[in-house]
């Protein structure tokens, strides 16, 4: 059972910044995701793993490997992923 499960999922760490880090109390969350998960699917997994993120998911963007990622991009285990809340530079 556990072997079959691990064959179909992978672990992915998602970095959190600013108010998201404060809300959750950690600078990153580790998710267990089905192979083939896209950027657009990430919100539902984040909501399930950490309900305190829910109010911020709609206004946050996903970055993959240091750039904002399109919704259809498929996530890979080696990706560096971050949830970017509304920015405030300048």
């Amino acid at each position: 059972m556990s072997d079959a499960r691990s064959a179909l999922t992978f672990q992915l760490s998602v970095k959190l910044f600013a108010l998201l880090r404060e809300q959750v109390g950690h600078a990153a969350l580790t998710l267990e995701l089905p192979v083939g998960t896209c950027v657009r699917d990430l919100a539902q997994h984040l909501r399930a793993a950490e309900p305190r993120l829910t109010p911020f998911l709609e206004v946050s963007r996903v970055a993959v490997n240091l750039a904002f990622a399109p919704p259809e991009q498929v996530l890979q285990p080696s990706d560096e992923v971050a949830l970017i809340p509304p920015v405030g530079g300048g």
Partner: protein
């Protein structure tokens, strides 16, 4: 203009005060007829609150990557000589400079347009956040009025 060409694009993110003399020196170029330097600084008011300081933090690797993409986009759209994008992090009090976008170009129109594009895109896209310290409290504030 490739981003790795540090002769032409100088990108920086750090805790040290911004060095406007060094920035002007970098922008100087024999082919440039002018330079436009936008400097953003900490303001003493925001939405009716009396602000005394801001604390900036960033996702530094991505912010620098974004600065590089902005410099590339500027070079692709306008004929510019040199570009500077610097942002300061940490605790800054009223009057301190937090961001500089500088462009030198043969003609002023390109320099003004490119600098305007640079600061606008930086404020929209760079993963940098600020916590406002005001009279009576503190809060995260964003550049997107409809976002929270």
């Amino acid at each position: 203009m490739p981003v790795c060409d540090t002769q032409r694009a100088w990108l920086q993110l750090g805790h040290e005060p911004l060095d406007l003399n060094a920035i002007h020196a970098h922008l100087a170029d024999p082919a440039a007829g002018g330079e436009v330097v936008f400097t953003g600084s900490v303001r003493n008011h925001h939405e009716g609150r009396r602000v005394h300081a801001l604390t900036y933090e960033a996702y530094p690797e991505m912010a620098l990557a974004e600065f590089g993409r902005i410099a590339e986009a500027i070079a692709a759209r306008w004929e510019v000589q040199r570009v500077v994008l610097h942002h300061r992090l940490g605790y800054l009090t009223v009057g301190e400079a937090c961001v500089v976008v500088g462009v030198s170009a043969a003609h002023r129109q390109e320099a003004f347009e490119a600098a305007r594009y640079g600061i606008d895109r930086l404020k929209r896209e760079a993963p940098i956040w600020k916590r406002e310290h005001f009279e009576g409290g503190e809060a995260w504030v964003t550049n997107c009025s409809g976002c929270h």
